[in-house]
């Protein structure tokens, strides 16, 4: 008898949970947002804004899936999401080539797809909301030329770049845009460009090694703010944080964001990389209401620079 009672309990619990699960918001339209990595502040801000905006749309339920910076996991999550037949799929792809086919499969299953912020290899989406990383790279490159002129009297000096995940559009263009500008200034020497996968902790480690190798650094251009802060922390450990200027990208508002770091004087500047969420939600509302006539295939959201004192 004792055995019976222990086996009954989980069964009852299971039935109860199944009952609850079956009837929870069954009538709502499902929107799945496949986020490539929740563990970055920029993406946490995207998620928060996305949840906030969708909460105001009646009859729609948003679910966010976190791929934790893993292509394989994101592909599998999207495959499984397709089986749910959501009314809309929003994907912030971890990398371009790996996610292209599975997003194509969603389209083929007649699920509208919004590609958020990162591009894929072929235009297998309903709409693509993007920010212009090339332009951000150029703005950052020009600003660093100005910084070097101010510091050294001429556009020349030692620059360290801290790179995000290689092969990703953002990485290619934030780097490439700056180099578009610098190729006209032969005095600018990129002495090191370690890869830190967008992460502050990894940037701190890589920068510690670079500091050991380079006796003098003028500017650190990190391709996002957390990596700029990682580099700053590494320089601070060695008492060298006043020797160089730090430039980042993303410009998130709120505590811990890049704008706060600029106002605290830790970063010289950051370049706002728009969340793209408001624009994506506007497109989502059109899709969900069946108004699919004039959807933009690609929509670019502009950037701007933030230095200390910028409103």
């Amino acid at each position: 008898m004792k055995k019976l009672s222990t086996t009954m309990k989980p069964k009852r619990l299971l039935a109860l949970l199944a009952f609850a699960a079956t009837f929870a918001n069954a009538a709502d339209k499902l929107v799945v947002f496949s986020q490539c990595n929740n563990a970055e502040p920029y993406r946490a801000a995207q998620n928060a804004r996305m949840s906030e905006r969708f909460a105001k749309i009646p009859g729609v339920r948003l679910e966010i899936m976190d791929a934790q910076q893993d292509n394989t996991r994101q592909i599998a999550q999207i495959e499984t999401a397709i089986r749910r037949r959501p009314a809309l799929l929003i994907v912030a792809p971890n990398e371009s080539a790996p996610l292209t086919r599975v997003m194509g499969r969603a389209l083929a299953a007649k699920i509208p797809v919004i590609c958020l912020e990162r591009d894929i290899s072929q235009p297998l989406y309903t709409s693509y909301v993007r920010a212009d990383n090339r332009e951000i790279g150029r703005l950052a490159g020009e600003y660093i030329v100005e910084l070097l002129k101010r510091k050294n009297g001429s556009p020349a000096g030692v620059v360290v770049e801290i790179c995000g995940l290689k092969g990703v559009e953002a990485e290619i263009n934030r780097e490439g845009g700056a180099h578009d500008v610098w190729k006209n200034h032969p005095g600018i020497q990129v002495a090191a460009a370690p890869v830190a996968d967008w992460l502050q902790s990894r940037a701190k480690d890589r920068m510690t090694e670079v500091l050991g190798a380079l006796p003098k650094i003028d500017v650190v251009y990190a391709h996002n703010d957390p990596m700029a802060m990682g580099a700053w922390l590494a320089a601070k450990d060695k008492g060298r944080e006043k020797e160089m200027l730090f430039v980042g990208v993303d410009g998130l508002s709120g505590p811990g964001g890049g704008i706060e770091k600029v106002n605290e004087g830790l970063l010289a500047a950051t370049f706002i990389y728009p969340l793209c969420v408001d624009e994506a939600v506007a497109i989502a509302e059109k899709i969900l209401s069946g108004d699919t006539a004039n959807l933009p295939k690609t929509q670019t959201v502009p950037s701007r620079m933030v230095t200390k004192g910028t409103p």
């Binding site: 699960a21 976190d66 499984t80 089986r83 790996p98």
Partner: protein, 324 residues
């Protein structure tokens, strides 16, 4: 609970049945009231998604039964995926597409086999503990893969590119599931019906006794690690096709997923005892669990926590000392 003798050998199947039943109950329903979990497309998704870990776990079963462990399989998978991508994308031989693909995948598999052989040789000849020898390989091969690719991922081309053709074949659902099934049959026969299989068990049960009876201990060890390298290589081909690139950073923690599938399947880490059907069931338990959690759109971190509980529960349920 008494099981029929044929099933009693694989008590794990009860676990799979339980998880499967739970998945059916918890499954969301589609617009027509159909059970989404039970849709054939979804069930075959599970098989394909588990095929990489599943194939590695088969060979890992032999390694663990022989009293060893192989931590290098994740790095090997990344190495093979990267090498395949290099050979398909950056190398332009004067060969037709079919010959180009054949050469690339044979070269990739041969390297995987050789790296596995290296593991076995270091363990059998230099008498290093398997944990340490394969840990070194895991670190070294990861470095080799990244160095070879210059840290970057090598993306496959689209359209008529030879790499796209390779990806079409190796990401085909039936082909991938078929590969796993073929590998399972191979390892099952190898372990249960050959002299080599008996040697694997004997070495794992008691290496000294096996030595006294004159069994080829060194050969057995070198062979199981070579096979494990080869299996990781096959998984690497599937991985490259599926992720549409060679990524030298992929496959981290795959060794742990494979080991988890093996131990859930009732194979003892202490060696000597274990089975291929158990390992397949172990991989399927993890696959069904992952699938239902994702169908219910459960947070990925919660997914990890639930998996941890399942691993402990599954292994505890199979421990012989439990009093019923």
């Amino acid at each position: 609970m008494k099981l029929p003798p044929a099933l009693a050998r694989f008590r794990e199947i009860l676990g799979l049945a339980l998880i499967f039943a739970a998945a059916v109950i918890f499954s969301p329903t589609g617009s027509g009231g159909e059970n989404i979990f039970l849709q054939p497309d979804n069930l075959t998704d599970i098989l394909r998604q588990q095929a990489e870990i599943g194939i590695i776990a088969l060979a890992m079963t032999l390694v663990i039964i022989s009293g060893g462990i192989d931590l290098s399989v994740g790095s090997l998978l990344a190495f093979v995926a990267s090498l395949t991508a290099l050979l398909l994308v950056k190398w332009q031989p004067a060969l037709g597409p079919a010959a180009h693909i054949t050469v690339a995948l044979l070269a990739a598999l041969a390297s995987a086999f050789l790296l596995g052989f290296l593991n076995g040789a270091v363990i059998a000849r230099l008498r290093l503990q398997p944990f340490i020898a394969t840990l070194a390989t895991m670190i070294g091969v990861r470095g080799l893969a990244r160095w070879m690719c210059d840290n970057a991922n090598i993306d496959f081309g689209f359209g008529g590119h030879v790499s796209a053709r390779f990806a079409d074949i190796f990401s085909d659902k039936l082909f991938v599931i078929g590969l796993w099934a073929a590998a399972a049959a191979f390892f099952y026969v190898l372990l249960e019906y050959t002299v080599f299989g008996r040697h694997v068990r004997a070495v794992g049960e008691n290496e000294r006794t096996a030595g006294y009876t004159g069994l080829p201990i060194r050969f057995t060890k070198v062979a199981v690690y070579s096979l494990c390298g080869l299996a990781a290589g096959v998984a690497g081909l599937i991985h490259a096709a599926r992720s549409y690139q060679g990524n030298p950073n992929d496959g981290s923690a795959y060794e742990l997923d494979a080991i988890a599938a093996v131990v859930i399947g009732g194979t003892a880490l202490s060696g000597g005892k274990g089975s291929i059907p158990g390992t397949i069931i172990g991989a399927l338990i993890m696959g069904v669990l992952t699938n239902i959690l994702r169908l219910r759109l459960i947070d990925t971190n919660v997914e990890f926590m639930i998996k941890a509980v399942i691993i402990v529960a599954a292994v505890w349920l199979q421990s012989p000392r439990k009093a019923r």
